[in-house]
């Protein structure tokens, strides 16, 4: 199943992002699948240090290693996009 169809995977990704970025006041349910995580609309107010933490979370919990910040910006856009990258089929 492609990642964006896999609700369990998306919940794990959301939980990881909330934990790594210490945003416990937001629940995974409040985080929409199609919102740009690093935009103002997400309400997360993430910065470059959060990007590094998420990158580390992907590495340790999902065994996904992103090469550099360009790769990161390409992959970590919305939850749907990230899920598709983590689980392409």
């Amino acid at each position: 199943m492609i990642g964006s169809q896999d609700d369990a995977l998306k919940l794990r990704l959301k939980t990881m992002i909330i934990e790594e970025c210490e945003k416990e006041d937001i629940t995974p349910e409040e985080l929409a699948d199609d919102i740009e995580l690093f935009s103002d609309k997400s309400g997360l107010e993430l910065d470059s240090l959060d990007a590094l933490q998420i990158s580390m979370g992907l590495q340790t919990q999902f065994k996904i290693r992103l090469g550099d910040s360009k790769d990161f910006r390409r992959v970590v856009t919305t939850i749907n996009n990230l899920a598709d990258f983590v689980q392409p089929e």
Partner: protein
């Protein structure tokens, strides 16, 4: 002359609980992101001293710690050697000595000089002396000064390496004071002796001051040493140690307690490796 305007302390000793997060939640509904317990301890102590008062932006920040943030070092080592993972960015950042200082400066919106002093033995005395120098020179008008140490368990090992007796209880604390050149509204004056002394010099110094001045001793001073210094003099002792266990910056707890509860004057005497340092606090009349 330098003046103490505000003081604030958080402290606990071995066996007691101190839930820093819960205490912070009584101040603000959310914990400041990315801070660990050591940094939270620093913020909580500083808040006790400053509260919601807006400080002058140029206020300098001097923070002292005997041991620094040892817990984050352990986390970083665990990540590398036990979990075989790279360090977490936030933990690496928090391992820098000046990180706590940053969070305090950011919280209280301070843009002046921001120093972190680390040292085993006399760290609070030295940091107070630095602040006193800058204030006397007119380099700073106001300094927010704090000392933070976190209790590391197991305590037996820590006691051995810190060189204190097994009977003494360890503690932790975050003790802060706002120092200024301004006399108006001050709680007390503080005078840190610039030179360290040997035993005979500290005895002579004590004999030369007003008999009504009380005396208190740091945890490294043993009872035989204290008897030798007092030398039969009838001088009242200020006993702060019951509420606080040993940590490197406990000097600031002693001074803050005296400013809060004491009367008159206090000479605080501390020892490290056979050298002594003294600090004199004089309370000002309260209106």
């Amino acid at each position: 002359m330098i003046y103490v305007h505000n003081t604030g302390s958080v402290t606990r000793k071995e066996g007691e609980e101190l839930d820093v997060k819960a205490q912070w939640k009584t101040i603000s509904p959310t914990m400041i992101r990315r801070t660990d317990r050591f940094i939270q301890l620093a913020l909580l102590g500083a808040y006790q001293a400053i509260g919601e008062t807006a400080l002058d932006k140029d206020t300098a920040l001097f923070m002292a710690s005997g041991q620094g943030n040892l817990a984050v070092f352990k986390r970083l080592r665990d990540q590398r050697y036990i979990h075989k993972q790279p360090p977490k960015p936030v933990d690496f950042i928090n391992s820098l000595s000046n990180t706590s200082g940053f969070y305090v400066a950011q919280y209280f919106d301070l843009h002046g000089k921001n120093l972190n002093v680390s040292r085993l033995g006399f760290v609070a005395e030295i940091t107070l002396l630095l602040a006193q120098n800058d204030l006397e020179l007119g380099k700073e008008d106001q300094v927010l000064l704090g000392g933070v140490d976190e209790l590391q368990e197991p305590a037996t090992f820590t006691k051995r390496t810190l060189g204190i007796s097994d009977e003494s209880l360890l503690g932790e604390g975050s003790n802060w004071m706002l120092l200024s050149r301004e006399h108006e509204g001050a709680l007390a004056t503080i005078d840190v002796a610039k030179k360290k002394m040997d035993l005979s010099e500290v005895k002579a110094y004590l004999q030369s001051i007003d008999p009504a001045c009380k005396v208190a001793f740091g945890f490294r001073c043993t009872e035989p040493m204290i008897r030798e210094i007092i030398d039969g003099e009838e001088r009242e002792r200020f006993l702060y140690n019951e509420a606080c266990g040993f940590y490197e910056t406990e000097t600031l707890y002693a001074l803050n307690s005296f400013i809060k509860e004491g009367e008159g004057e206090l000479l605080f005497i501390n020892v490290y490796e056979e050298n002594f340092r003294v600090i004199k606090v004089s309370l000002l009349p309260r209106f």
